[in-house]
Amino acid sequence: MSATNDELELFDNFRADLDDHNDRRERLIKASRDATNLSKKTIFLLHRLMMEDSNISTVDNAPGKRAALRGREKLVEVQTIYAGLRQELEGNRFWRYQSQVSPGLQEYIEALGFAHYLEYGSLITFDQVQQTLADSQGVPFFPLTISDYLLGLSDLTGELMRYAISGISRRGGRKKASEVCAFVRGCKSDFERLTPYVWELKKKQYVTGQSLEKIEDAAYAIFVRSSEYDLSPDMLDDIVAQAISSYSTDGLSARPRRGFGHDDLEDT
């Protein structure tokens, strides 16, 4: 019964095994957090870039293309993180640590999907996402899961709502908003069919529904108000743009008007 040494040696191996597992887990959580962080910054960057352009609904969609390009440049940093995780997630390990990697991946897919939408006005496909997470030979760093793909895109609808509403008062904004509205509506109905398979999608579908309603309400308000004036959308844009420009560009050259521009305060 003096098997003590044998047993301790046995447990020594388990310790090494468990430590190895826990350390890898920690490393992956950190990396995933970094990926989330960078992806979030990219989303903000995309929003900012789209706000910078005065007209977001040009025929050639130059602003969208420009923003998408800058966004993708930024996302290369995230892709580098995932390239570095290749060894850690090799073979059998991928599924072991899937839940640690998944949050960052979803955020990345959201950012990538946003850039894609701004450029093409369509949903990024599963294969297109997987291709961005592969080496130069096209070999994936690790398999992309359908659930991460769907959940990332489901989050995208929230960003699109923000994008549509914040741009709604600008030139071409109303047209853009109605496009986004139709697109999000399409996403919601496409995802509906897949919801029974992916557990978390149910909650996100609810949020998508809320985002959709916000866009719809905004579109409604604009429609009702603009119907009071018998003007074409372009002319309405002009009136709005004029009113805004008298405040925004430089306060001194613009006609001084009573109101809430802080330039007025400086003058007095």
Binding site: M1, E7, F11, N92, Q98, L194
Partner: protein
Amino acid sequence: MDPQDLETLNVLLDRDVELRENIKDQVNEFDKKTRTMVGLLNKIHSTPCFGEVPSLLDSVKPVLTSCQEITAAIASIVPPNQLWRWKELWSNSLRTAVFAAALIEYLSNRRLITLPKVAQTLGLKDEWQDRVALPAEDYLHGIISLVNELSRLAVNAVTLGNFDEPIRISIFVKNLFAGFSMLNLKNDTLRRRYDGLKYDIKKIEEVVYDVSLRRLASSQSVPSTTQ
């Protein structure tokens, strides 16, 4: 979304659902077997004469061996590299099987069964490592169940007039506890169950105390624990 892409995703997801169902069928069978074993092994608490224990264990062993059919079936269903995707489905059954194997080994040889030995008993092959395997975590869960069971046995053995058993159990469990203390566990179920081990040890210690105080145990086994 492009209708074609949507359809592709749908097909893939359907395939996963089917796979899950197939695994579940096997796990149900696995579960039946492990429950049968636990039921049979429960009789150790009411087997007055320890001479009857070996024949009881012999009745459990075929059930344990038959678990090999299940592991083989699971290995044939699970796609390569997807062990960790599906293992939650059979973890509980697997841990119970470890427990049964460990209890049989303890009662037969008073030894701790090793992880490779359990894997071998369950017919787990090395080439299945990416589909069905026995990870350290599941093995350790099974061993903790063994300790839980032995603390019960220590009490019931005394009731049945076997006063040496608690002392043997005490030494065995203390060694095991020393082993578990070497592990850096994170906050998960294994950690919680490890934290619960001290109550089993306390229970066994009390039995040993009662037995030795009343000089019920045979003299040669007493000094080794009370020192």
